[in-house]
């Protein structure tokens, strides 16, 4: 036996995000992409119709935990996420790291365990000039630019749940939280961002925002 039963493989079965129900209510259009039912756009589409803050469900991002000796995990700083092979490499402790975005080409070894934790964490991207103000409504982390520069990694409480934030870009934050808290976290973010005039966007709009930044 193995731990293969933890892996989300793009087989015939369709994988679902825990935030599908509220996204559907908010008007999402879904498409199956790489085995995941993904919210690709909302309503009129586009980049959230110029809202100052938008959020997108990116729970489908692959997540892998590396556990083992510091040597086996390799050089990874604390507090900063390293962009490597289309993934964020995040050191959590001396003996644990999390790779977010793409499954690394790593196999179990004597001093390294590789565990698929894709479904341990749901994920949202919060984007826009008011993203930080939105976080301030439900998160005590200090995300001021002078304290949290781009690529900073901040594990900590989000919406009263264990979580982790990566500042992906000037006004763009990726954050992870427990899979089972997906609906709850959507409601928290929708409440805070909605009050600041924001709304949900699909992954296609998110890509446009990223392109606009680049």
């Amino acid at each position: 036996m193995s731990l293969d039963f933890l892996r989300v493989d793009a087989g015939e079965a369709v994988a679902h995000s825990p935030m599908e129900a509220p996204a559907r209510v908010a008007g999402a259009r879904f498409e199956v992409r790489d085995g995941w039912n993904v919210a690709v756009e909302f309503g009129l589409g586009g980049t959230g119709s110029g809202a100052q803050v938008s959020w997108a469900d990116v729970s489908h991002l692959a997540k892998v935990e590396l556990q083992g000796s510091a040597d086996a995990i390799g050089e990874l700083p604390f507090g900063t996420a390293v962009r490597r092979d289309e993934a964020w490499w995040c050191r959590l402790t001396q003996t644990r790291a999390l790779v977010i975005g793409r499954r690394p080409e790593l196999a179990d070894a004597d001093d390294l365990n590789v565990v698929d934790v894709t479904c341990n964490f749901a994920a949202l991207t919060l984007v826009g000039p008011l993203a930080r103000e939105t976080f301030a409504r439900f998160c005590a982390l200090d995300l001021r630019p002078q304290v949290t520069p781009v690529a900073a990694l901040r594990p900590g409480s989000i919406g009263r749940q264990p979580g982790l934030v990566i500042r992906e870009d000037e006004d763009r934050y990726l954050f992870l939280f427990g899979w089972a808290t997906g609906e709850y976290m959507w409601s928290v973010v929708a409440d805070a961002a909605g009050h600041l005039g924001g709304g949900p966007i699909g992954v296609d709009a998110l890509r446009e925002v990223a392109a606009a930044h680049a």
Binding site: V117, C139, A180, E183
Partner: protein, 952 residues
Amino acid sequence: MSRLNPQSGERIDRTKTISFTFDGKKVEAYEGDTIGSALYAAGRRTFGRSFKYHRRRGLMCVAGQCPNCICAVDGVGGGGVRACIEPVREGITVTHVNAAPSLEFDAMRATDIAGGPFTPPGFYYKTFIRPRRLWPLYEKILRNAAGLGKLRRSQPEREWRTEYRRRHADVLVTGGGVAGLAAALAAARLGADVVLADEGAEPGGQQLIESERQGLAALVADVRDAGVEIIDKGSALGYFDGLVAVWQRDTLHQVRAGRHVFATGVIEQPLVFAGNDLPGVMLAGGARRLVSLYAVSPGRRAVVATTSDRGLHAAQALRAAGVQIVAVADLRPETGALAQQLRSEGIPVFSGHTVIEARGSKAVEEAIIQPVVGGSEHAFECDLVVVSGGTIPASSLLLQAGARSAYDAGRGHFAVSELPANVFAAGEVAGADTDLAAAASGELAGLRAAHALGLGDDTSAAREAELASSLAEPAAPDLAVAPPVSGSGRGKCFACLCEDVTAKDVHLSIEEGYDSIELAKRYTTVTMGPCQGRMCQLPSVRLMAQETGQGLEQVGVTTARPPWVSVPMGILGGRPVEPAKRSSIHERHRALKATIKWAGDWRRAYDYGDPEGEALNVNRAAGLIDVSTLGKLIVRGADAGEFLDRLYPNRFSNLKPGRIRYGVISSDAGRIVDDGTICRIDEDSFYVTTTSSGAGAMEEWFSWWLADWGDRVNLTDVTQGVGAVNLAGPRAREIMAAVTDLDCSNEAFAYLDGKQAQIAGVQCLILRIGFVGEVGYEIHFPAAYGQHIWDALMEAGAPLGLRPFGLEPQRILRLQKLHILVGQDTDSESTPFGAAMPWIVKLDKEQDFIGKWALEHYSQHGAGVALVGFTMPNGDVPTEGAVVLDAQGTPAGQVTSSRHSPVLDRTIGMAWVPEAFAEDGAQITISDEGRTLTAEIQTKPFYDPEGEVLRS
């Protein structure tokens, strides 16, 4: 209308009129008015009725400090809304509180007139205790009499949106007067990220009452330009280890700053004399604010009583506004320069005098002053008594931050004497009395805060030194300390306006033995009202000192606790969101109209409408339950087996890959903490399940011992990442055959085997266990496939009678098997021996394990009580928690679980009973809410006692 000609710096906009109603009557106001200023301008003098005696109260502080003008706006109010600072808005409905039937005629006024015997301190403790049977009646009356304002009855009416906002800053400056502005500017100019919280409608503090505001506008502009975030109308509620909660309208800003500057100013004090609560008795600052901010004349003829130049400045300002000053009683024996000037302007100044009585029926009509050292009194006809009884520093937040205070005899108040690290005080709260000194002390505090953060340069360091030396020797204050009370014997002299505590009440409480400030506070409730001691702490300390013959230093002050201002509970509550966990199959449960309830922090399908039917269907055909809430840990590494051997009383290192074993976690005290099954995946990997409620605690427990022992073990909590369902029942095997190629025959896949296989195309871990007592397959899979797996199983099982079952039917089913629920059938006293699981404790294990020593002890010394099953011959179902009685009728145990079993059609249950009763057929007595029931003990499972079904 008593509106004055335009005043320089007035806040009202005379081009914009607003109207609202007060107690049903229309009131005209200008934009920029407060409810209080508009009502005063319209001639109103009575704003509320006092708490106990229902005496008339009018505007006094005009700064939101005193309790006199508490009102309700659009039905919401009570302690939180002060008319004097609440801005007017078009169309609002303002009502008075604490007077019935009306503000002008209040029936409860009788308490003041009859007075005496009915209303001393503690009168309700003394009066309403007998006869006891009348208490329900008393309670009804007291509930109506107590409190200010009315709570709205329905929930929607009471709700409005409030929210938290977290703000991190380098420096938080609390208080936006000259000192606070200077501090913010100095720190921001050195590069600090500064937030300034000011409770006023605009920054400026005391400067705002001056007609000449030297450079205030420019200063505020500079502060904004320097990048300071100004939270206006933001009241700091409390200091909590470096975090200050600032309430601004509907938002609670939680400002976490590295350094704090408090420039919170001082609070002008009233004087304690007979009739000092009459409408028309007003603080000097209050009278001046009415004039300069709202262009409202506070009266026509005024008597001023003061202890310092504050009152004299007020006399000048009021006179300039057209108020006739008929007399000034200056407590200071010497006539100072300013007093000379006033006299030369024709204002009679009486040095060494103070006010002893204010008279009038609805408002002040006459004031009487007298020399403090004795001499003849003078009466003056007037409609305004302006008092200035000195000041107290607004040091509550500083004290909460760890500052200390000491009695300053020169100023006659308790002054801040010592500051903790990283906390700075500036302006009047720090004793800088003049504008010039306040500005300098503010700049100094700002520089110090920035320097403490590592900012600044040589120039700023030099500036700090220069300011420090200039402030090193402040001028001695020119003031006289007010007497504790004047004119006692002439009428009620109020020390505390909020709670209607008079000087005589303080005297009485000391006579009755409540002779320390903390005791007197609790007995008389002085300082416990809405003003939070602003107006009454110093007067009550002075009275205590006089009555007990102690110095003020000995009497001391009561502790300053948050909140510093009255705040609606909703502001503290924030958004009404409750973290909820949901299984990845939750949408399906919703669609099936399941009864969803909280189970720990999860929302779970409790049943699908028919718990007994669902349970019966598992015994007769097959059922599917979502058990995604189970705790799930992956324990991997070279030492994994040994690590589990040390954590559990039984052995896991000898478990073969692909096999499952039940385990109970015990504490070092030998008590049951959690239970679950463990499947060995391969040589180095174990899949550990825990109870749903214990998932988090078990991960912490495992990783705690790991941190201590340092084994070569990696731990991954996959509780939320892995979904799980249990397919159980006589037809479960057939259903499995429809969804997987795995050979599920009993020979190939036996009880307590774990297998990995594809189910409906998804790689799953399948555990053959039997919590519900039937052939069962607990299927674990990535949470993202929850709906897929559920749908596939339901579809395959439908023709075979498969139905979903919820948590409640599962409880019935497991009870039929006498499977315990940790936390339901066990508590913090339960040991595996008591819980009839001696077999799980392997005391012969070679290595040490958690709980070993205690369990060795209990293996020899019996637990005294035992967990057993019971049945009820007559079909009663006792309440869970009902008491088990021993032969003498003494409580000796309790029922932990009880249900009607549909498959057996009888009552089954579990209970802790004295060991002597723990045998089949023994009769026990259960006392259940007044009923006495008899039950029969059964130690074997009620259903399939030999486990043949389970293993088939």
